[in-house]
């Protein structure tokens, strides 16, 4: 007997607003503990929350980009529980009236398109952070800098049927949020967190099996491995005739297992009720339309357009649309006269290698689209060969110099197009390698490449390769 895997994901995305959701403290990450705090986000008696409008705007972007219905009225509710990082003893969240509902995402898994439903998206505040100093057992500190930082909770339908689908959904969702410029999508730093509900059921059964909720997976790889582990664990239990217990389990990345954190009996009764300190959130239709009009092109649309409009291979389009900054770099280069396929090749195979080696993002790239476009145009015009261009690009990158024509001129990197000069060098090369010439004439035309290389060497790569080919052929065959 085999089982169908059922997975639903809950994502918490930290929003990139300048200030917190209910006060005007900075959301900056990594500042001195408790430096970005005030009476509101530390829950001092009498302090009251005031909603940051930007958070609503970001929620609308996320909702519209994931095909959700926007509720014109949504309500903040209090989720009550005790924990030292939760200063008010409740988290302000949304419960029965979230801002977005009934959306979906389309993802491609193994070449097949699949629609994953999104149940809801709601706004809430983050909690603070506990700090346990190693040299002080029994003592914990609380840093409230993160308290009240805005989050979107995005809950999927239990529509995924494999860990691969789960990861594909997660990546697609993250790309969208990053494209919308509302979340930086960093799983390791916790700005994009994921919990997974996993259950199994015999194929054909309508009812869901008992699920476990997996937490503590801080990379796509861990999500995949945790789900795979959990599926194996549940399958074993079921095959042995046992029953899966409804519980929350933590992924232990070192031991590569999930461990039980709390059972159903220990589950909290959060006693949600509408927060009387906040008015219902009203979103007029005009606001929704304005946000809709301003939505950027999303990763998937962009990828498809790059393939169709520029004739790029799917793999390159995928890489170029990995981030909005990358796609913008590409399109700007094309706009400035760079030939699209060349621009794509040079970005994917040259520029990205530099960036990856230096671990910097495209936004910080020393070569600008202007610089790259100018270089590509020099190649198209035949001023520099591809080989020279690589040298020029290296100089541009290293020296933050975006004037390739000047570099070429200053360093004498201009291609040698002089027929007589090249013919002379070709003659010298042939004279210096009589053995190779013999081989060539004997039919071993492979040595041709070697001879070209010798000419290039003598000209330090500056010879016009087309011309060298012509001259060599003429002298060898003639």
């Amino acid at each position: 007997m085999d089982f169908e895997i059922v997975i639903g994901l809950e994502v918490h995305a930290q929003l990139r607003t300048r200030t917190k959701i209910f006060c005007s403290c900075s959301t900056t990450f990594g500042d001195q503990p408790n430096s970005n705090t005030c009476p509101v986000c530390t829950g001092l008696p009498g302090a009251l929350p005031v909603l940051n409008r930007q958070v609503v705007e970001f929620a609308l972007r996320a909702g519209l980009a994931t095909n959700c219905r926007i509720n014109s009225t949504s309500v903040f509710a209090r989720k009550n529980y005790f924990y030292p990082d939760l200063p008010k003893g409740y988290q302000i969240s949304q419960y029965d009236l979230p801002i977005c509902e009934h959306g979906y995402l389309e993802v491609v898994v193994d070449g097949e398109e699949k629609r994953i439903g999104i149940t809801r998206i709601h706004m809430e505040e983050d909690a603070g952070k506990l700090v346990h100093p190693e040299n002080m057992p029994g003592i914990s500190y609380v840093d409230f800098n993160r308290a009240c930082v805005p989050l979107l909770e995005i809950v999927s339908e239990p529509d995924m049927r494999s860990s691969g689908e789960a990861v594909a959904y997660l990546k697609a969702l993250r790309d969208i949020l990053v494209y919308l410029e509302i979340c930086d999508g960093n799983m390791e730093e916790g700005s994009f967190r994921c919990d997974a509900n996993v259950s199994l059921r015999p194929y054909g059964q309508r009812e869901f099996g008992t699920r476990s909720e997996l937490k503590n997976m801080n990379s796509f790889r861990n999500v995949q491995r945790a789900i795979d582990y959990e599926v194996r664990r549940q399958r074993e239990i079921l095959l042995e005739g046992g029953q899966v217990v409804q519980e929350t389990r933590l992924w232990d990345a070192d031991r590569e297992i999930t461990v039980s954190m709390r059972g159903k009996e220990e589950a909290h009764d959060y006693r949600y009720f509408p927060d009387p300190d906040l008015l219902p959130v009203e979103v007029p239709a005009a606001w929704i339309e304005k946000v809709r009009r301003q939505l950027p092109e999303l990763p998937r649309e962009k990828r498809e357009r790059f393939i169709a409009a520029y004739g790029l291979p799917a793999s390159d389009a995928e890489i170029l649309t990995d981030s909005r900054a990358m796609a913008d770099f590409f399109e700007r280069t094309v706009e400035l006269g760079g030939e699209p396929k060349m621009a794509s090749n040079w970005m994917v195979s040259e520029l990205l290698r530099y960036l990856n080696d230096d671990r910097i993002s495209i936004a910080a790239c020393p070569v600008t689209p202007e610089g790259l476009a100018a270089l590509l145009k020099l190649m198209t015009a035949g001023t520099v060969s591809g080989k020279l261009a690589k040298q020029v690009l290296a100089i541009m990158y290293r020296e933050r110099d975006n004037d390739p024509a000047a570099i070429v001129k200053a360093r004498g990197l201009v291609q040698i197009d002089d027929q007589e000069e090249l013919a002379k060098i070709v003659r010298e090369v042939l004279a210096a390698h009589p053995g190779e010439v013999e081989k060539y004439k004997g039919g071993k035309t492979k040595v041709f490449g070697f001879l070209v290389g010798q000419v290039m060497r003598r000209t330090r790569g500056k010879a016009n390769p087309g011309l060298v080919n012509d001259l060599l052929r003429r002298q060898l065959d003639g």
């Binding site: 530390t42 302090a47 030292p84 008015l279």
Partner: protein, 488 residues
């Protein structure tokens, strides 16, 4: 007349004419506190140094004639749930015994800006939960009219301090009658503004959808002046309403001739003291004499108000009071060695019995499986109660009613029976559920000499109209001139 015995309006005139200084007034009030508070127990903290410093600053403003307001140099008391920067704010609870706020409540900041002087922090029922101030963790406050009786609550310290001339006026808060009922018991004027008229920022929350800060004063004029000083939209309180604040004092003199006063049948509850009833009838006669028209009214859902209130208020309180966990501020139980024990013992030791009772009630009302039957149902009934008033105000301009079924009761009289205590708020609670403005003015006196208040209720944001009627009544009667027998 001693300075301390005067009103805001009178002292404000004296100050502006520079016949007295704010420091003199403040010293006089501080002397009065020293002389009588041992017998009254209104103050939890007297901030002598702070008050004198603020008075000296007020005098500089008065001398320069700069930024002078009717409240410049006026000594005011604050209920101890208003956050005051650098001055302890305990909510009369042990759990906040050592809590010194880092910020001012909006009302405190506004009064500071206006040049007011703060004499100190006034006693109350712990976290404003109670109707007698007997739930203070620190001390009883005695009714200045009879030391055997309670001053009412929860703003009992505020009402007693004003009645005993221990400040020219005070701020209290009203969640289910906590300004109006003690005002009635102590013979002063207590105003609960429309929900949203005054910012709640910095008011330590009991029940957020009901709490409202308001003035306790010696006269209606002073009520108008002090309300003017604290009212208005505050961007820090999402529930405060962006609505213009009229000059309440300027409009006081408007006649009430021809206005329709509604009397709700349901407010004459079983167990109402005949003396309260008699005082009410007499007050109605005064209004008739002033040319008001009397309208018989029904507010049919009144009988559900107390039950509704004790679900909504306790539910909100159970959540509002969750922040007192010993982690960040206030009291933390000593000698605990794990988190759960810290929570349990901190809260067990820090909260008094009434607060615990309400946290448990509210927790229950919100619990899974009970929410619909209790909290949701209560919200539905609350809507019906609000609609009762909406309909009533289509037939009348103001509602007139008693404040409390009885005058001030004795210490311990209702403490043993919480339900009796809760029911004594039956005439004030509906107003909070509907978010309306209401005022309690001195409106009679029992044979034993205890004050009896008269309540006027208006439509949302009709404070001006409320104050006009109260002022006309005050001008036509002498109840507000009676002083408690403290000096004998």
């Amino acid at each position: 007349m001693e300075l301390y015995a005067r009103t805001i309006a009178e002292v404000s005139d004296l100050l502006r004419r520079q016949e007295v200084s704010a420091v003199e007034v403040t010293r006089d009030v501080l002397r009065r506190i020293a002389a009588v508070d041992g017998r009254v127990g209104a103050y939890l903290l007297v901030d002598e140094a702070g008050a004198l410093e603020q008075a000296a600053a007020a005098d500089r403003r008065l001398a320069a004639g700069e930024a002078v307001t009717p409240l410049t140099g006026i000594p005011l008391g604050l209920k101890d749930l208003l956050s005051t920067r650098g001055v302890a704010t305990t909510c009369a609870s042990k759990i906040l015994a050592d809590y010194v706020p880092a910020y001012d409540a909006t009302v405190v900041a506004r009064l500071r800006q206006a040049g007011a002087v703060f004499t100190g922090k006034l006693n109350m029922d712990e976290f404003a939960m109670g109707s007698s101030t007997e739930n203070s963790a620190y001390q009883p406050t005695r009714n200045p009219w009879d030391p055997e009786r309670v001053p009412g609550g929860s703003s009992g310290g505020s009402a007693a301090a004003v009645a005993a001339d221990e400040c020219l006026a005070a701020l209290g808060s009203d969640t289910g009658g906590s300004i109006r009922q003690p005002a009635s018991f102590c013979g002063v004027v207590g105003l609960k503004p429309t929900y949203g008229r005054v910012s709640r920022y910095g008011l330590v929350a009991f029940a957020s959808s009901l709490d409202q800060i308001g003035p306790l004063t010696k006269t209606v004029t002073d009520s108008a002046l002090l309300l003017g000083g604290i009212a208005g939209h505050d961007p820090r309180d999402s529930t405060s309403v962006p609505r213009e604040v009229p000059d309440f004092r300027e409009q006081l003199a408007a006649e009430i001739k021809g206005r329709r006063l509604g009397i709700p049948r349901e407010y004459f509850v079983a167990g109402m003291d005949p003396e309260v009833r008699a005082a009410f009838d007499q007050a109605v006669a005064v209004f008739t004499g002033l040319g008001a028209e009397i309208v018989d009214l029904s507010l049919p859902h009144t009988e559900y108000a107390v039950a509704t209130y004790y679900l909504v208020a306790t539910a909100e309180a159970s959540s509002n009071l969750a922040r007192y966990d010993g982690v960040k501020y206030g009291r933390r139980a000593a000698g605990v060695d794990n988190l759960l024990e810290m929570y349990y013992r901190t809260r067990a030791e820090g909260f008094g019995p009434e607060v615990k009772r309400r946290i448990m009630l509210g927790t229950y009302a919100l619990s899974a499986g009970y929410y619909d039957a209790y909290y949701r149902k209560a919200q539905q009934v609350r809507t019906l109660i609000r609609q009762d008033f909406e309909q009533a105000f289509s037939r009348c301009d103001l509602i007139v009613a008693p404040v409390c079924p009885t005058p001030a009761f004795r210490f311990g009289e209702k403490l043993a029976d919480p339900l009796q205590m809760y029911l004594s708020d039956v005439l004030t609670i509906p107003v909070n559920l509907a978010g309306l403005p209401a005022i309690s003015v001195p409106g009679g006196c029992s044979r034993a000499g205890l004050p009896i208040g008269l309540q006027l209720i208006a439509a949302p944001f009709a404070e001006a109209s409320l104050l006009q009627a109260a002022y006309q009544f005050e001008q036509a009667t002498d109840w507000h001139r009676r002083r408690p027998p403290l000096d004998v």
